[in-house]
Each structure stands twice: as C-alpha cells, then as structure tokens.
C-alpha cells in the first residue's frame, strides 16, 4: 500500500513539473527513477521511451504505466497513471473555469490572437521535425502522399486513416516476406 502511494506521488510530481510533451519530462524522470530510486538504468529508460512512442496513447502516460507495472503490477500501473494525469485534471479544470470569465476582456482576446498564431507555428515546427525523421525512404514518402491524397480526395477521418495505413503497411510487409521466401 505504501509502495502504491509512493508511485502515485512520484508520477504526480513528474506530471506537475512537465510542460509540453513527453520528451520534456525525460530529464525529471531520469533524476527520479534512475538516479534517485534506481528503478531502472538510463538505457532501460530510453528503451522504454521508444516503446512508449510507438504504442498507442500519450508517451508520458505510457511510460508511467509501464514503470508502475514493473514496480507493483496492475495496481502499480493504475496508481502511476492516475498520478501523472491528476495535475492536468486539477490545473486545466481551474484554468478553464477561470478563463470562462475573461473571454470578453479586450487584452485576453488580443493575447489569444497572438497565441493562436504561435500555435500554428508550433504545429509547423513539429511537422518539420517529424518530416526529417520519418520521410527518409521512398516507401515512407509514398505512404505520406497516399495519405495526403485520401485527405484531399475523400476527406478521410483521422481514425480511419490510421487504421487503413496500419493495415496496408502490414499487408505490404507480409507480401514482401512471402516474396523473399
């Protein structure tokens, strides 16, 4: 029981001091689970990150669930996950409730005008990073343009596109292996 509570507190702290995405929490996580508590080694933590990145869901949550499970099985996984989402729930609920009262303030409107442009810039910034990492092979570029064609042509939904891309990739991979045999 004390162990579970410790997991909750640990990931509550990580959630509270993480701004932005999953990678922003890596330094703090390393300090807590590698240096201080020695739950895993630095290499293991990095491996865990790559797994967290290619499994469904938010990376930070995936990493928390995994470490929680390693420490105290299913209960640990649940407590670690609740720990990491708790600061978000509390803070965002507060911010959202407060913000409702300021939506007609002139300066808040002006500030959000600037902030929205910044959000567009942030998204394009991520696109550049992802394109550099993920559009290296002809196969990837073809998949990318295939997806673009579906988005423009039939306005395919995000859910359907991901399922379709995964199925097509699986089929192509399977076909290639048969061919080699």
């Amino acid at each position: 029981m004390r162990n579970l509570w410790k997991l909750f507190r640990l990931f509550f702290k990580v959630g509270l001091f993480t701004f932005g995405g999953g990678y922003a929490m890596l330094p703090l996580l390393k300090a807590e689970v590698v240096d201080k508590r020695k739950y895993l080694s630095e290499e293991e933590l990095l491996d865990l990150y790559s797994i967290g990145q290619c499994t469904p869901g938010i990376i930070a949550v995936n990493v928390a669930t995994f470490i929680g499970y390693q420490q105290a099985k299913v209960k640990g996984a649940i407590m670690a996950t609740l720990g990491i989402i708790m600061p978000s729930i509390v803070i965002i609920t507060l911010v959202a409730s407060v913000l409702e009262h300021f939506t007609d303030n002139r300066y808040v409107i002006y500030a959000f005008y600037g902030i929205r442009i910044c959000v567009v810039a942030l998204i394009f910034n991520i696109i550049f990073d992802l394109a550099k990492k993920n559009l290296k092979s002809v196969y990837n570029i073809l998949m990318f343009f295939g997806a673009i064609a579906l988005l423009i042509g039939v306005n395919i939904s995000a859910v359907l596109l991901v399922v379709l891309a995964g199925s097509v990739a699986l089929a192509i991979g399977e076909f290639k292996r048969r061919l080699i045999k």
Binding site: G22, Q53, I92, C118, N134, L151
Partner: protein, 173 residues
C-alpha cells in the same frame, strides 16, 4: 448520453493517436467537425494553454476539451477514457516486453502509420492556419515566430508568452 459519446470518442483517440501529445490534434479537429462541443478556434486556444500549463499536453487537451464539452465531470471522463487504452496496452507490453520490441509485424504497422500521422498533422496545421491567419501581417507574424523556433530550440512556453505580448501590442498600436 454526452458522457458515453465523449468516453467513446476519447477512447478512440487514446487507442489511435500514436506518437505523443500533438498527434491528438487532428483527432480533436474531427471532433470539432462532428459535434458542437468546441470550435476549431477554441481548439487553438486549448492547444496553447495545454502547452503552457504543467502536465503532458495530450492529457491536458483531453481534460480541456472534455471540460468545454460539458463541465468538470466531462473533463475527468474524457481524460480517463483517453488513458484507458494506454494502461491496458502497456500492461500487456510490460508482460511480454522482449517479444514485442522485436516483433516484425508491429514494426511494419508502425512504419506505415508514422507517415500517415505526419499527413494528418500537416492537414490539421493547414486547416488551423486557414482560420487563424487572415492578413499579410499575420503571415509575417507566423514567419517570424516559426523562424525563431527553428533557430533557437527553446521551450514552447517562451514563444507562447512572446506571441501573447506581440498580439496585444499589434492590436493596440
């Protein structure tokens, strides 16, 4: 009824958004089209606030979107629904970690999903751009902020604060 719908939708996002927080953005865009829970402009504000408040951005956005759709309870339910697939899948992965990480089929699937997700984010960015960027001044604003991001890889919070100040100054002057 909204509780069930909201949980189903965020469960789907949690299951299909592979690669972290901002990947949820295109899915939230689809929700803005499908339901009257929030508009795309509100979504842009939500992204900004989620980036600049503590907590993983994907989790923050789920809480925020849920809250906008129907108050505190919806915010909590959306968040729990979002993380539920993660918990189940990661527990399974933890049980068979080594088998999973070298499974060739899993690699195939992910290799196909990543370029598609990139296309999705690009589309969400363009769609948001169409709403947010209206005149030459906005284009200039965007170009400057984006160039700064490419040159100095600083935390997004700096750029968001700077843009807030710039926005106020531009509108007043």
């Amino acid at each position: 009824m909204i509780y069930v719908l909201l949980m189903v939708e965020f469960f789907k996002i949690g299951l299909l958004a592979i690669g972290g927080g901002l990947v949820t953005v295109p899915f939230l865009f689809d929700l803005a089209d499908k339901y009257d829970w929030f508009t795309k402009t509100e979504l842009a504000n939500m992204i900004a606030i989620s980036e600049s408040t503590p907590g993983p951005i994907g989790v923050n956005m789920a809480t925020f979107a849920g809250f906008n759709a129907g108050g505190i309870v919806c915010g909590i339910l959306a968040t729990l629904a979002l993380v539920f697939p993660s918990v189940v899948i990661m527990i399974m992965v933890a049980k068979m970690m080594n088998k999973y990480s070298c499974n060739i089929r899993v690699k195939d699937i992910l290799g196909g999903i990543r370029p598609a997700v990139l296309a999705l984010i690009l589309f969400a960015g363009l769609e948001l751009g169409k709403i947010v960027i209206v005149d030459v001044k906005d284009v200039l604003f965007l170009t400057i902020v984006l160039s700064m991001m490419r040159i100095w890889k600083k935390n997004p919070i700096y750029y968001l604060c700077l843009s807030a100040v710039l926005g106020i100054l531009l509108k007043i002057l």
